[in-house]
Symmetry: C3
Subunit: 530 residues, 3 copies
């Protein structure tokens, strides 16, 4: 059985207005099928690009029902014009024989590889961490480029803090730029094929996943869309994300993760736990580094592999690093580059704080164009909004500090002070700053005022949020959670985690006093180590 010579068929990229009324034969894979009350609309993709076909049997009747989504077909058609665009009027369509499909797949995959493969460009800065991650950048960028080119919808999930937004906005811009190139600048595609969604929880929650699945299925049924590519950034590397990944994998969605949180230890295959559920993973820990190269930096560099000319300012990774309190060569270099572009550290810190505030007001909505402006699409707005809003933020912070000063209790534990604050009695529900940010502000205030290290405990009826001064030794919140909560207080159902010196515990209200007492006792033990 001889191979089909795919080169003899008309490539879609060759079609132009000059071909109107001419007839051709091409081979392509069916990417979309949409039944209207009139004709059946199909989008086919060959090795070069996608092209729209109109097939008509009877109004509302599916034409060529034997040719289904994903099939590779040979199509005979006449080029016609519709609203200024060209499309193909199908004369006949048939699936190519089974043995030729594999040839086609191979041929097109090779072509696609060439086309979608991210180019091996230089990184913006010199960094051993980023250099080590380069193969991962290339791999993930290629997956994203392929999704865009194949009109696969993209869901971009990210942490709702400044680092998460920074990474996500960088990626969004590169993706939309490449999409414009693929679609000829079609505005609707930008909205139909891409959605960014900040997460309420600091991980990809199952609840988010079922909502994503639900929207995805509606899009598939209603518009003939493909399963989306899921991108998770500044979240996604930890075990907490696996439940959501399993849900998306029930529907075969490709998933990639860009994160700098600790992903656990590698197993004998060199994989961390989430690696068994995802298709690409960028995280400095995977190459033996730590979290000091933050997600905003990773997103900024990855964006360049997706689409180099993407309008992202180097201010973004600098700001992300400053707000995430990371340290190291990369932060220093990005900040210096940003300063050369006229961004002072102070301005970036204010802008980062303002992103928290706006994220809070937007209640996890996308607000794509507004964040685009804040991140520098509109430089006048970027500058003026800091002048406008920052004084208001300062007032809110001052008020929070004043309340903390007035109502928090401070107890001397010997080597350190313990500050206790009621996060429900001391913040206004729904207002900015919420509990986490308020805790940071109060903790910082007492650290500055007092002559010994500080541990701050903000509790509510169902949570305890903890911040621990840098100089305190021997204290580990994860250790408290595993050794004490899970063992001695397992009857309370309390659960918690975080970093060594910053974390939180959740419990039912019944258990509040028990958990607080247990932590105080733990602190007494720790006080002897310091």
């Amino acid at each position: 059985m001889s191979n089909l010579d795919f080169k003899k068929f008309k490539p879609f990229s060759d079609l132009s207005h000059g071909d109107i009324s001419k007839s051709y034969v091409s081979v392509g894979r069916i990417e979309t099928v949409k039944q209207t009350s009139g004709p059946t609309l199909m989008v086919l993709m060959d090795s070069t690009q996608s092209f729209t076909f109109k097939a008509f049997i009877k109004p509302g009747e599916r034409a060529f029902p034997e040719c289904e989504l994903g099939d590779v077909v040979e199509v005979e058609y006449r080029v016609s014009e519709r609203q200024g665009s060209i499309e193909g009027e199908v004369r006949s369509m048939k699936k190519i024989s089974q043995e030729h499909v594999a040839d086609f797949e191979e041929y097109i995959e090779k072509k696609e590889e060439e086309r979608f493969q991210a180019k091996d460009i230089e990184l913006t800065i010199q960094s051993p961490v980023l250099e080590a991650l380069k193969p991962r950048f290339l791999h993930v960028a290629s997956i994203i480029r392929k999704a865009v080119a194949q009109r696969r919808p993209i869901i971009l999930r990210h942490d709702a803090d400044c680092d998460g937004y920074s990474s996500a906005i960088c990626l969004e811009r590169a993706i939309l730029k490449f999409m414009d190139e693929c679609t000829g600048g079609d505005v609707m595609s930008r909205y139909n094929l891409f959605r960014r969604a900040p997460s309420r929880a600091p991980f990809y929650e199952y609840e988010d996943a079922v909502k994503d699945v639900s929207m995805m299925l509606k899009d598939m049924v209603k518009n003939g869309a493909k399963e989306p590519l899921v991108i998770v950034t500044d979240n996604g590397s930890t075990n907490e994300d696996i439940f959501a990944y399993k849900q998306m994998k029930l529907y075969n969605c490709p998933i990639v993760v860009i994160d700098h949180h600790y992903p656990g230890e590698k197993d004998e295959n060199g994989n961390v736990e989430v690696d068994y559920f995802i298709d690409g993973h960028i995280n400095p820990y995977l190459e033996g580094f730590d979290s000091n190269v933050c997600s905003g930096m990773l997103g900024y560099e990855l964006a360049r592999f997706i689409y180099e000319d993407n309008n992202n300012s180097v201010m973004i990774p600098a700001m992300a690093g400053l707000l995430d309190h990371v340290d190291g060569l990369e932060l220093k270099t990005y900040v210096e580059l940003a300063q050369k572009e006229g961004y002072t550290t102070q301005f970036m810190e204010k802008l980062g704080d303002l992103i928290y505030l706006q994220s809070h007001y937007m209640r996890f909505g996308e607000a794509r164009e507004f964040f685009d402006d804040i991140f520098g699409n509109n430089l006048v707005v970027q500058k003026e909004i800091v002048n406008l809003v920052y004084p208001e933020i300062e007032k809110l912070y001052t008020k929070t500090r004043k309340i903390g000063k007035q109502y928090a209790s401070v107890e001397d534990f010997g080597p350190f002070y313990v500050v206790q604050f009621d996060g429900e009695k001391g913040t206004a529900r729904g207002q900015y700053p919420a509990v986490g940010k308020s805790t940071n502000l109060i903790h910082a205030m007492f650290e500055e005022e007092l002559n010994k290290p500080v541990i701050t405990m903000t509790s509510g009826s169902t949570f305890l949020t903890i911040r621990v001064g840098d100089d305190i030794k021997g204290l580990s919140i994860p250790e408290f959670c595993t050794d004490i909560l899970s063992k001695e207080l397992s009857h309370t159902g309390a659960e918690g985690g975080g970093h060594e010196h910053a974390g939180s515990v959740k419990f039912v209200e019944y258990a509040r006093e028990e958990v607080i007492t247990a932590f105080i006792n733990y602190l007494k033990k720790i006080s002897k180590l310091n």
Copy 2:
């Protein structure tokens, strides 16, 4: 005055692509009018089907303004093609004389009756209850079929539990299948003309009704839609629903109800109270039976009268019955049939529990396609999602039981134990399982552990939820509400209801202790009867 001979006019169902460029005269009723910035678009319906007409005078000017929605008109037109469909270009249009309208109405009604009338098919199982309800199935199915065929939008309201979903999904599938037949498979109609909406309350709340009215009016003004048919299932038979029905009837919406909750006693006309506000009613109590034939079973059978070939699996009524804890011949038969299709009781129980969880996560959104998959449209997903999610549900249940064990108080009342639990202190707000399900779990746990019957009281600042062991005699929650709450505690505004042995009371926080004390006193009285 001679009758018009409607048979001499061209029936819409005879029109085809062969008629393009030919001219005809037909008579029809105006079903939709939509003014565009160009022509006026009208949909007319004759005795056979609907057909779209385009009338043009001047851009944006209403053509034939004397012919209004609902009028019967004689139309002269030329058949033309548009995007593969055919439509009529109006040459002239005039209202037929008043005396002929009645003839037309009679003629078309007779034809419509023949067309919309549900066929008298066999029930799936042998059941005296279902047999007695058959005329009601036929009546309600015909109302629904007529609404679909006339392009009347449909709002399907249902209880958000497994039984409610089961009934609603069965009806949804049959309605959409028949709609496809009527529209030639137009996907947009499925979304524009049908909406399923789970209810937060266990009845059709006035708040839901005003939102439905508000959406309906927008659809009528914006798109020229008709008043919708409202279908209520697994709710709708009781007095609590009347306020909402009155609201919908202000706008003349037809309403049908499929329910198995006790609808009150029949009056001298053989009607229960809601019957004066609705157009069709299926409920076993209306034929002298009880609630053991649940809504999922009724919906499953009704769906077959709406559209016999509807893809519903007999697993659905079986699962609905299992999760609603009904008993009897029908449950037994459906479960046996489901087992023959390979569904074990255990699998169905897990799947039913998973529906509660997903309903919780979807926050009363429709999630049409996802629930369709879970209910068996995608058998792989149906199976795998149980494997994926059920272990997580089990963990949540175990945690809830552990907390109940630890914090609930158990008091010996002699013939039974009374368990008290704080539903706010013992559950995490917004998390699954919420208070009702948690109460069930804790009640069942203590029933299993203790050697006497159990009464469980879960209270919060504004509610008391009660579960009573089967063996306890003389206790009736409705009686407590009428005899004690309404009389002795009327100053508290507390209100409640439910079944004999399961129900709840709502109150303002001020009254919490009074209500709990009153119920404890009531239990002391009951303890002497046991």
Copy 3:
């Protein structure tokens, strides 16, 4: 340099179907640019009206990229038909020389002035207040008319009480009527170009503004829309609104305000503080009057300047005045006129109360068509819904009074009684009536029952709501806030305000007892003055 003779160009308003296939040259300003996957669509406006052009170079490629939004261009085109409308197929387009743009602007502005300028019609009633405001009505009406005619989107923000709805509905109807005239009755424009949004807070909150900006930017990017005109009514005159205005002014949105709340004193330029951020302002205080001419009256009169034949009934300003408890000649006159149209005072009061209830149920959604019906578009619904719903409202009010009677504490302060009520313990969250309305009901009940004036304090964990009897002298809530809260309790962060005898304080829960004690102490001082 000779002036261009704009009169020699074809005015868009002269184009008709008779021009199909003919070619012309016109000059206009580019109002909209939308890139499709086919041609570039542009809307141009000359001195007479707007007209749509289609320019095509290559599919998806922006035609004439040198001609940007806002540019004045000379266009050569051929008139063609599309879906019954006419449009222009662009042959060539070029920006007119810089020196001619000023001429064009001047010419068109003069023409626009003539066209958009509101006509100096008679007011509905004789009123010195309204007469003094007339120049402001004309100014604001002209701004609104211009926005409509230029297809500028409109956001209408209003207080969510009866007065706010009354004003907003009057304006909405006039705006939509004028829009219909400008668009030839295009239904979609009514939804794409106009949005009414009740505000949760009693002012234009910054959070609302960022959401408005976010939606506006999406509309601009996605649909090529202009910056919207923001209309604020029954809010908007006070300092609290400025933060939001600054945000909108970052994007150059025009803003007009119609309000009757005290706007502060005028400065040496004759301006109140908000005047520096807005483009038009109607408020009786600006002409030396007080709040007795309410927003519903102002909106009713302004609507006539926007579009005289606007279907608003004089019942609306009468009802607004009754529900806002204003006094004076204007209320008397409007009520008399409403009575002549068959509206009794009692009916209007019930209808007004019902608007509160429906606003509550709609959760600040627009529900445009439903409110239009309630406000009299559907007189049968307007009448019947009062009969249907009012008895239910009465039941809820009776229950609230009963709970107030039972649980509120009443203390004799000598010259007056002080009623204390826990607004969280005494109302059901999310239910109607909420705290504010409940406070009014309880206050009125005790005023009626007791033989001395009454002060009612409803507190919750984070708020204190205060109502003070008319006869009590020397008490001022704003004074309490400035003199005591801000000075003696500044460490609590408590803030408040309102009128002399009705207002509220917000605080964090920690400060609840301190604030209540401070207010009780203040009342003790006041008691000595009475």
